[in-house]
């Protein structure tokens, strides 16, 4: 948890937003997902989210759905995800898991948090866990000092933002738009307003995700948010380029360009 806050302290001093990258574990396969995330970290990302594959990803658009289907065909397990977290943690940058709640609960909340802590994981993003259902999750993540990242949306009313943000540790994930993950032509106009509303109720860092994929979009969002989350753009490169070396080159380029767009 501290490691996440330290990253945001550092990026604040550097007067830039943090770059946070997402890729589903096990896509295109276990080894390669770990390799790609490491490459992204080495080329300027400040932290990464390892996506835990789930059969019914309600928050994801076609791009990530397709990647997750491939990951599940590869039989990527929860323990495989922890293995990837552990490998990436040697980068000394925070490694998070993004997971729907079904796999977490089935695996066992206590066992999940303990094994994640053993893998040196920093935090977990839970896109479909409402705070009303989060009692055991809050207890256990507090005990193990694992950051709890909840997602808020443009439709969240002020009282709701306060309630959700009060349970967050690490950073608040602000969904830039009403919709699912995927690349978009433009940054939603709602993102800035949501961040402004969050600032009224929390001092925690705020990262914006959903529909941020180009350096220009990252620059726009980085001007008002503490962190910029990019996922589908990386996934798309891997889906569209069967030549893995070529895909790696494109991913390195994109990472460097995104990172270069963030200084304010």
């Amino acid at each position: 948890m501290n490691s996440i806050l330290e990253v945001f302290k550092k990026t604040k001093v550097e007067n830039r937003a943090a770059l946070i990258a997402y890729l589903p574990a096990g896509f295109p396969n276990k080894e390669k997902s770990s390799e790609i995330l490491r490459l992204i970290l080495d080329n300027g990302a400040d932290m990464v989210e390892v996506g835990l594959p789930y059969s019914d990803p309600l928050m994801d658009g076609p791009t990530i759905q397709q990647a997750v289907e491939i990951s599940l065909e590869n039989k990527t397990s929860i323990d495989d995800c922890f293995q990837i977290v552990k490998e990436l943690s040697t980068s000394k940058k925070p490694v998070l898991i993004m997971s729907y709640y079904s796999p977490i609960e089935k695996y066992g909340v206590s066992k999940f948090v303990e094994n994640f802590a053993l893998a040196n994981g920093a935090g977990v993003i839970t896109p479909d866990l409402t705070i009303e259902e989060a009692g055991p999750w809050i207890l256990k993540t507090t005990e193990q000092e694992i950051a709890r990242v909840f997602v808020v949306a443009p439709s969240s009313k002020a009282a709701r933002l306060t309630k959700v943000a009060s349970e967050v540790t690490g950073f608040v994930y602000a969904a830039s738009l009403m919709g699912v993950t995927g690349t978009r032509a433009q940054v939603s106009s709602k993102a800035e307003e949501l961040v402004a509303n969050l600032r009224k109720t929390t001092d925690l860092p705020i990262a914006v995700g959903l529909g941020v994929s180009t350096p220009a979009q990252a620059k726009t969002v980085g001007a008002f948010a503490d962190g910029v989350i990019v996922g589908s753009a990386f996934v798309k490169i891997l889906l569209e380029n069967s030549d893995f070396e070529k895909a790696k080159t494109l991913i390195v380029e994109l990472t460097q360009q995104l990172r270069a767009a963030l200084p304010r």
Binding site: E69, D128, V151, S155, S156, M178
Partner: protein, 402 residues
């Protein structure tokens, strides 16, 4: 029937049934779910809403649906079987009961567009019907596999002016149709109501959909008291998501002498792994915004379900059924494709009623558990739908040429 606050069981605000139910959804949907819950509670206390709904039930759907004693079928079942004739409703199944309630709420909320998922196509047809009646735009998500086995209902929805979107992700059945509908809802929630078709999903759907379906049990209770002079020994219904079952069970829950039996689709048999018997073969987990029994693996991944019946082919089940199972108030049993199709044929030939294949699971169930009863005992079966949509599937099953 009017839905007043008194005649409903009041659940905790967060919509829990013991450890089941609740809300496991993206935060983006919370304000829409809260609005729906509020509007629903306001509506059921508003005489105008209740009048409008009961007027539609009577003059548009044709309620009350009859209760028919199936005397020739009873000879095979070796107990007295009464059928609650939801097959005679406008659009051909119980699904219309819930759809009209939610369509009225949609209008009250000022929304102009409804979306729905459908498996057998019955809920999609009912939604397309209500959308036509109220002048709403309608999009129905349907798994590609189901669009093929229920082609007739796809045509009906289109004739009613709805857009049908075949879903090609995952298992291409009901589960994936719900995923797509949820994604549409997250994106268009300001203008769109998700008219969910069963007692699953996040709160308030399991409670609200149940309440719109209670009319079946309320009528059946009165009708059996009139016709037989007493309460039945048992109620039987098929269970997909669980809406026709909970609707007829619920008004009998406090009648301790009345057994409640739900019949799930066992496909090729529970032991084969190719089935949709969630309460029999599944375990507690989370799916589509609620905690209930789910067919899933040790990592919480939803497993594919299998059934000849598109309407029962779902790896989840409504949370209230999970609770009724755990507290042993209701019991749930698996029925294979073969058992269901035998009962489908038997009802057709003994009563002149071709049931939906979903419904045939309940009828097969009665035949299966009948040795626990005396010949004078009474069971009320929810005849949840008619079999018109299934003629092609049945013809293929029985080797008929059409």
């Amino acid at each position: 029937m009017t839905l007043s606050a008194e005649n409903l069981r009041v659940d905790s605000a967060a919509g829990h049934f013991g450890p089941y139910g609740g809300r496991f959804v993206p935060e983006a949907l919370i304000s829409a779910l809260e609005e729906l819950d509020l509007e629903y509670h306001k509506a059921i206390q508003d005489p105008e809403f209740n009048q409008e709904l009961s007027g539609l039930q009577k003059n548009y759907v044709g309620r009350p649906s009859p209760l028919t004693e199936a005397k020739r079928f009873s000879e095979y079942a070796k107990l007295r079987v009464f059928l609650k004739r939801e097959d005679l409703n406008h659009t051909g199944s119980h699904k219309i009961n819930n759809v009209l309630g939610q369509a009225l709420l949609t209008v009250r909320m000022g929304k102009k567009r409804v979306i729905a998922e459908t498996g057998a196509g019955q809920h999609g047809v009912a939604t397309a019907t209500a959308a036509a009646l109220f002048g709403l735009d309608c999009v129905v998500y349907m798994g590609e596999e189901d669009t093929q086995r229920q082609a007739l209902n796809v045509a009906r929805m289109k004739l009613l002016g709805a857009e049908v979107i075949p879903v090609t992700t995952g298992t291409r059945t009901l589960k994936d149709a719900i995923n797509e509908a949820m994604r549409d809802w997250v994106t268009n929630v300001e203008t769109t109501h998700y008219l969910l078709g069963t007692v699953a999903g996040p709160h308030p759907f399991p409670t609200m959909v149940r309440d719109f379906h209670r009319v079946m049990g309320v009528e059946a209770r009165e009708q059996i008291l009139n016709q037989a002079g007493r309460l039945p020994e048992a109620i039987a219904a098929c269970v997909g998501g669980g809406s026709n079952a909970i609707g007829i069970f619920h008004p009998f829950i406090d009648d301790e002498t009345v057994q409640l039996h739900g019949f799930e689709a066992a496909g090729d048999g529970v032991a084969t792994g190719r089935h949709a018997a969630t309460l029999t073969g599944g375990s507690p987990g989370i799916l589509h915004g609620t905690r209930s029994y789910v067919l899933q693996d040790k990592d919480g991944q939803t497993l594919p379900s299998h059934s000849i019946s598109a309407g029962l082919d779902y790896p989840g089940v409504g949370p209230e059924h999970a609770w009724l199972k755990d507290i042993k108030r209701a019991s749930y049993h698996p029925i294979t494709d073969t058992e269901a199709m035998d009962a489908f044929s038997l009802l057709s030939k003994t009563e002149g009623i071709i049931p939906a294949i979903e419904t045939a699971h309940a009828l097969a169930g009665v035949l299966k558990i009948s040795d626990q009863f005396k010949p004078t005992d009474i069971v009320v079966v929810n005849c949840s739908g008619r079999g018109d949509k299934d003629v092609e599937t049945a013809a293929k099953w029985f080797g008929l040429k059409i």
